[in-house]
Symmetry: C2
Subunit: 505 residues, 2 copies
């Protein structure tokens, strides 16, 4: 017998968190780097999670009247330039198409040919091309609001990439709306943020803080950027979704005008909001442990795996029959608007089989041997509990109660993440304490330290910049929830408001 490893993933989170992240992804078979710089291949186990996230979001969007549409992948260079801040924000990371053919040169090598009169940018986001469409579609207040969403890919040529968290190409949704009044656009901006928060908390079991970005951290071209911020297990913040109030900036740049009820001409008010495959990175870093990832049942690629075990050849038929019958019954059960996804894994590869599913983070593992067949039971392991902790349940009870068990796992994951965040959140009033809080104890070995510091900020960009320069700590958001009164700026001591400081992805 080989000795069981203490943990399935090496290194552990506390040993080397960034490397742990790469290793859990590899062990789960969710995704991998591609031969194209900074781009990833999302494998079926990872893509199924994304499909569930998309489905949940799409339903929430549609409940609020949003409809899906599709706009071109390419944006003419001239469009990008219409909004000055916008182009400034994205110019450094644009993939540019300059040719529309390949031709053989004198040496027989294939080279780009057919130069385009105007280069095309592969969309890093679609505000400018959608604003152009809006300007044609909107003439009167009767045409408003327009509430659209697009599912697709975008490209931002990032220099330092990390799977799911920061990739040159990523999948996302981007919502774009136009309204007759500022109040309505602001309401939509907040509504979509609420949806992101619900998605994160209810579907992904990831507690988030809702708030507004400081001017320095806003989306290029936005008047205000709202965000949700989650805490990862290395105590860093992950921005998990953003909703932008664009004011009349893009309307002015692209001439989105409409006639009001009293026949005046006005610029429309627009919003945009997005969430991406980055959420998958958030799920991994919120719930994963030293045995691999843990998928929250509401979004899990599959809910349960059945693992038939035959110690003797003559047991095989009965065990397989029992297993297949159970799979059929489970697949008829529903869990939060979708059919249960049941995997059956009959491979005879010993203990490696169970570990594979643990590393994949499937919520429930069910072992079935001759004993279970005889006693009409199942032997169930929950991914949120230690892998040795398994319990025997009556087969029928398991089928009828599985949705409840999954909900229980979902709640346990949320609760665990909420406790972690609570334990790594502090109120700090003193500058020295603040600097101490964000200084690693051991610089040779990056360790999990710090967290969310609720401290004051006077509103000066210079103070924000100073903290960022000294500690690589940024203001994650000005929380939406009523703060407990004013707080002195942690950088200069002047009166300010309470904000959330943290290191971030």
């Amino acid at each position: 017998m080989t000795k069981q490893p203490k943990h399935a993933i090496s290194p552990t989170r506390s040993d080397d968190y960034p490397e742990w992240y790469q290793q859990v992804i590899k062990a789960s078979d969710m995704a991998e780097r591609s031969p194209v710089r900074g781009c990833m291949v999302i494998k079926p186990w990872g893509y199924a999670l994304w499909e569930n996230i998309m489905q949940a979001m799409d339903a929430m969007f549609k409940e609020t009247g949003v409809k899906n549409a599709y706009f071109p992948l390419f944006i003419p260079l001239s469009f990008m330039q219409k909004e000055a801040d916008h182009v400034e924000g994205f110019a450094k990371e644009c993939a540019v198409v300059t040719h529309h053919r390949l031709e053989k040169d004198d040496t027989g090598a294939l080279v780009p040919s057919g130069r385009l009169a105007e280069p095309l940018v592969v969309r890093p986001t679609s505000e400018t091309i959608i604003a152009d469409a809006f300007s044609k579609w909107i003439g009167s207040y009767r045409d408003l609001p327009i509430l659209l969403n697009q599912w697709g890919n975008v490209v931002r040529w990032e220099m330092r990439t990390r799977i799911f968290l920061r990739t040159s190409e990523f999948l996302w949704q981007e919502g774009h709306t136009a309204h007759a009044t500022q109040a309505e656009a602001l309401e939509r901006t907040r509504l979509m943020l609420d949806i992101y928060a619900r998605l994160a908390e209810e579907v992904l079991a990831m507690p988030v803080i809702k708030g507004a970005k400081t001017p320095a951290e806003r989306f290029p071209g936005a008047v205000d950027t709202l965000c949700i911020e989650a805490m990862m297990q290395d105590c860093k913040a992950l921005q998990a979704g953003t909703s932008h109030f664009l004011g009349q900036n893009f309307a002015r740049a692209s001439q989105i005008k409409f006639q009001t009820a009293d026949e005046k001409e006005e610029y429309a008010w627009t919003t945009s909001w997005g969430a991406s495959t980055r959420l998958i990175g958030g799920v991994i870093m919120t719930h994963g442990d030293d045995d691999g990832i843990i998928l929250p049942p509401r979004a899990a690629s599959a809910h349960v795996v059945l693992l038939p075990i035959f110690k003797k050849e003559e047991e095989r038929q009965a065990v397989m029959d029992y297993t297949e019958q159970l799979a059929r019954e489970l697949r008829r059960q529903r869990y939060h608007d979708r059919a249960l996804v049941v995997e059956v894994d009959p491979r005879e590869i010993g203990g490696a089989r169970g570990w594979e599913w643990i590393k994949k983070g499937i919520p429930l593992r069910v072992e079935i041997g001759a004993r279970e067949v005889k006693e009409h039971t199942v032997f169930v392991g929950r991914r949120d509990q230690a892998h040795q902790m398994r319990s025997s349940l009556k087969r029928e009870a398991f089928v009828t109660e599985i949705a409840g068990i999954l909900d229980d796992i979902q709640s346990a994951l949320f609760e665990r993440a909420a406790v972690f965040r609570r334990e790594h959140s502090v109120e700090i009033g003193e500058r020295a304490d603040f600097y101490d809080y964000f200084t690693p104890r051991n610089l040779d070995k990056p360790e999990i330290h710090g967290g969310f510091a609720f401290s004051g900020w006077c509103g000066e960009p210079a103070c924000e910049a100073k903290i960022k320069e000294d500690l690589t700590v940024t203001i994650r958001c000005i929380p939406s929830e009523a703060a407990e009164g004013p707080a002195a700026c942690i950088a200069c001591g002047r009166p300010g408001r309470r904000v959330v400081y943290a290191k971030a992805y």
Copy 2:
């Protein structure tokens, strides 16, 4: 009173079919040209149809064990070159990314900057990048089969574009599988063709002929290309989906090798198969009439629109209540695995309202006035019938029978298309008859003529090329269904097999 136009769309199909096609799309608000050359904007009414097509296909794929995944948008130039026929087939229409930044030049104008060491091609299809992944994932026969599908966008720089039918960027799915044996790969190629045929016939009510392409019409790099061909109302063929047996071509080019059960090393056998937003063009041209598009209920963006009518102000409340209540009840009904999609349109814009929905092709229009409220009825118009033909139904009966009515419309559309195809299909044995069949009667005014000619082909590329050159008629496919024996080649008279000739999109 304004005089009712005889037809909502001008020109009619028989007046000018290509222009009719543009006008029905405009009138339906499904899509429009974008400012980016050859790219379209798919508007909500068009995108909802695509969502339903995706959902139906996705379910059918998954039933056969296919899982979704996602590969990079960009393909390194060196990958494109690995399969000689493949690069030859796509080189002329590749969008090429050469830079990864924008910078201001001396005049302040934004220009591409940061030249890439190796140019990247925006995927026209993903065989080469997926083959590279397969070569890494596959080591043993135990790793096979791999059954993947990708939903996404692709770019082919077409010189002459037409919305949905031929656009520089389009949305599609591309399936890619790898197998241990030739037989299994061939079986998968045929299975996916069967799925496309089922989708076309059962969901889109579009009769198709299944068959194989001639070598000249094969996918670049394929050993065999199977296809489904539908007849449009101008009697031209539309290739609506293709399934390719790639043999070991891409496996050899990308070294996809595996160890067999008896420890020999072999190349894997691969397939690929795709269907795109072109299907929407097929739906429009199969079912549309001179009043606009007609959506087959199984894929329709919405199933029914409720049109409240108030002749006097005091009727308004009762009519609206009755309408809203009916909408709620209808939305609880299911139709082929999805909830009924019900639109309510209370706009007071006179007859234009009803015509808008006719032009959008919604299967059912329901008028509700004071009389309907009093008599507990609904006044129903079916899009597959003349717009004057409407009938009064008991409200309760309508709610319980709506799924049946929709199925009836679905069958009627299929039947109508099948009759059209039958009436425009001929068996031709004589060369002169063949040339006559495909020669327009009036060359000044392109007219609807010709159709599918079942005639012989000896197998010589020269004969195929001659027919194409003389008549712009191509061999659409060698039908899968048993032909009625041999047929003399329509070009040279030598013995041959029966194939389908037609003009095509």
